[in-house]
């Protein structure tokens, strides 16, 4: 079974702090994704990556950056956290090129105060 592990289940940060959300997958998947999930808005794609050191903006990249230095690890960075970034963050991975199902981590609920 594919395992996607997010480093924290809950995080509380202050406005202006730099925040790192880590995600690791163990199935050698090429593609990795970061979504945020908000009530009434569903899952919205922040960034995705097709390969090491490659990244593409999703639909809502503002205020976020990502890093993919190793194939199995994809990090989401909030350079200066703001209260409107309070949300559930979901990481996912998938095989490349065949409309493969995404496999999700359990999510990180981030609260910015």
């Amino acid at each position: 079974d594919v395992k996607v592990t997010q480093s924290s289940r809950y995080l509380v940060k202050r406005t202006g702090e730099k925040v790192f959300l880590e995600c690791v997958q163990d199935m050698d998947h090429e593609n990795m994704f970061w979504y945020r999930q908000d009530p009434g808005l569903g899952l919205r794609l922040i960034y995705f990556s097709y390969d090491v050191k490659m990244k593409e903006k999703g639909d809502i990249p503002e205020g976020y950056s990502v890093s993919r230095e190793k194939k199995e690890r994809f990090s989401l960075i909030l350079e200066s956290a703001s209260t409107n970034q309070t949300s559930m963050y979901l990481c996912a991975s998938a095989r490349a090129g065949r409309s493969s199902p995404l496999h999700f981590g359990n999510g990180t609920r981030l609260t910015v105060t």
Binding site: G42, L43, R44, L45, G58, A96, G97, S99, P101, L102
Partner: protein
């Protein structure tokens, strides 16, 4: 703009009822449609539909895609309390980008 719309937003039923969840989509370079079930944590994969008119089944769950009318339905027969969850529908744009709907919240009471 790509969009996936699910209806109803929420549904409350009793155990044993049959439910139908709807998903319509407008997705550029559409490849396939996926259904997920989300309880407290990670969405878990249910079905992927690529061809029109071919029903996919897994136990009491089934789903079908209509590529002409741009919609899909997810049926759950003989519902159980364990079916209570948010059901997410998503369309693949090209082969690597999933566009999600906002979900249907299903509550099944004994």
């Amino acid at each position: 703009e790509d969009k996936v719309v699910q209806s109803p937003l929420s549904l409350v039923v009793h155990e044993g009822d049959t439910v139908t969840l709807n998903c319509s989509y407008e997705v550029t370079n559409f490849r396939s449609l996926l259904w997920y079930k989300q309880e407290k944590k990670a969405p878990t994969f249910l079905f992927m539909l690529t061809s029109s008119g071919i029903e996919k089944k897994s136990g009491r769950l089934s789903s079908i895609l209509d590529k002409k009318e741009l919609f899909s339905i997810l049926n759950i027969t003989a519902t159980q309390t364990g079916d209570s969850a948010v059901y997410l529908c998503a369309g693949y744009r090209d082969t690597d980008k999933l566009i999600f709907g906002t979900g249907t919240r299903l509550q099944v009471f004994p």
